[in-house]
């Protein structure tokens, strides 16, 4: 959960007095499905980064090229768009969903991680 402030600490009227503070708002608590990254299958095409409606895909630039490095779960809402657009989610021959062990992103119920 984000750190929630008490009424004495907040600006009045629900005003936002600090531009760009949405990044303090950790929307990851909404998630019911969690995208799990399987780097061995990733081809670093950056489709997931491009389509993620938040900024939950972690990218590292290596030799001028972007590399997928997993997720920032503070912001990932679990919408599943990344898994949907990932080319590794589809079997290139059958055009059917690829088996889980071949995918770069697998969506799992958040309850699997309840212990964390």
């Amino acid at each position: 959960m984000p750190e929630l402030k008490g009424w004495k600490e907040l600006p009045i009227g629900g005003l936002i007095v600090e531009p760009g503070n949405a990044k303090q708002y950790k929307t990851g608590t909404w998630r019911v499905l969690r995208p799990v990254y399987q780097p061995e299958n990733c081809i670093h095409c950056m489709q997931c980064w491009l389509y993620c409606p938040d900024q939950a895909i972690v990218v590292e630039i290596v030799d001028g090229k972007p590399k997928m490095r997993g997720y920032n779960y503070y912001y990932c809402k679990g919408c599943g768009l990344c898994a949907n657009v990932c080319p590794k989610s589809t079997d290139p021959k059958t055009k059917q969903p690829a088996p889980e062990e071949k995918r770069a992103i697998v969506m799992r119920p958040e309850t699997d991680f309840a212990e964390e």
Partner: protein, 389 residues
């Protein structure tokens, strides 16, 4: 030099607003408020004020325009009545929630239906929980004085709330009375420059108004509004003290009239207080120990003042000019609840009167006092003055 003038309540409020010279006035005509903005429009047309006057298409828009203007840091004013206020309702809450010190004059009129244009307090009572400060004038003088004081109260950094000035429709709005007005420069320096906070036009400090506020923060923002209301009595008294220095007229949260030794006290809002004072004088001449308490401020409710004044009296009669269908009338309910804590509770009686502009006469007031003299006040019984059975 203060000047004596003979004005209607509507004219007096418009005159005070001329002296205040607000940045924005947005309004839609409605009886009996219309003359307020009509007189003000003349000041705009004559170029004696710098105000941007916005004739909008509805009261909902009038309050919306005031919200926008006040958020931008402008002094905004509107006036309305009855169904006009009801049509604003959504934005009335928003103005208070966004903590915008708008000033609105309400020429109190009965809410429809059946349609009626005359005075009662149902319009303002429908807004009593909206988060607005509610001031109630008894006459033209008080309507003028409260208009001069309103921005100082609402704009105070510990308050930041909108202020509603209630003045009985037709009785005050259209009745001509002699009042004392202050000089333009005295009003100007009393009101001063607007105290701006979080102004949208302050581009150095950008601010967002009205973002979505869900279960994680909405409650905290409501708590802040509750707190702001708690600061009003202190700020009202400060402003009233300063106002007394320029006008010689003394205001407080409630007015006490002949209460010192009074055994029986009547409580009422607005112009009826004048009729009650007249009746009290007659009853005093007959040796009856009677008095009046008139809340000048109804929101926040002056609970502690009423507890202090009413504790130990023989009888308290509360007059309401609006009904609460299925519950006790609003002023009565609040007084009764305040008296729960006092050491010696008086007998209590609830009298509803004057709905839809029905006249209230000294005979009606005397009738309620007579009930009290006989010890015939029943706390759980609502009675009606001037109603045909």
């Amino acid at each position: 030099m203060p000047a004596k003038q003979a004005l209607t309540g509507a004219e007096a409020i418009a005159y005070a607003m001329k002296q205040i010279n607000p940045d924005v006035v947005a309004a839609y005509p409605i009886t009996p408020q219309t003359p307020v903005v009509e007189y003000f429009a003349k000041y705009v047309a004559d170029g004696v004020v710098d105000t941007e006057m916005i004739p909008v298409e509805s009261e909902h828009s009038a309050m919306s325009a005031c919200v926008g203007a006040a958020a931008a840091g402008a002094r905004a004013f509107t006036a309305t009545a009855a169904v006009g206020l009801a049509l604003m309702h959504e934005i009335v809450y928003i103005a208070a929630s966004l903590r915008l010190p708008i000033v609105m004059a309400v020429a109190n009129r009965a809410l429809s239906g059946p349609i009626n244009i005359h005075c009662d307090h149902s319009d303002a009572m429908a807004e009593r929980d909206s988060g607005w400060i509610q001031l109630w004038a008894e006459n033209v003088q008080e309507a003028y004085d409260f208009t001069v004081m309103a921005y100082r109260i609402g704009e105070h950094p510990d308050v930041r709330l909108p202020v509603m000035i209630n003045f009985d429709g037709f009785i005050i709005s259209h009745g001509v009375e002699v009042l004392e007005t202050l000089d333009d420069d005295v009003v100007k320096s009393f009101v001063g420059k607007p105290i701006k906070m979080y102004s949208l036009l302050d581009t150095e400090h950008p601010v967002t108004y009205g973002p979505l506020d869900l279960y994680d923060y909405y409650f905290e923002h409501k708590r802040q509004q509750i707190e702001a209301m708690k600061h009003v009595p202190k700020v009202f008294k400060q402003v009233a003290e300063e106002f007394e220095k320029i006008s010689g007229r003394k205001y407080d949260l409630v007015e006490e009239y002949m209460t010192d030794d009074a055994e029986y006290i009547m409580i009422a809002l607005g112009s009826t207080a004048g009729t009650i004072k007249h009746t009290i004088k007659e009853l005093r001449a007959e040796g009856k120990k009677v008095g009046l308490v008139k809340p000048w401020v109804f929101r926040p409710f002056p609970k502690f003042e009423l507890q202090r004044i009413l504790n130990g009296r023989k009888g308290v009669i509360v007059l309401d000019r609006s009904a609460s269908f299925g519950a006790e009338a609003p002023l009565y309910e609040a007084v009764k609840s305040a008296l729960y804590e006092v050491a010696v509770r008086p007998q209590l009686g609830s009298y509803v009167y004057g709905l839809g502009g029905r006249d209230i006469t000294p005979a009606h007031i005397r009738q309620a006092f007579e009930d009290a003299f006989k010890g015939y006040l029943i706390a759980d019984e609502e009675r009606y003055l001037g109603l045909r059975e």
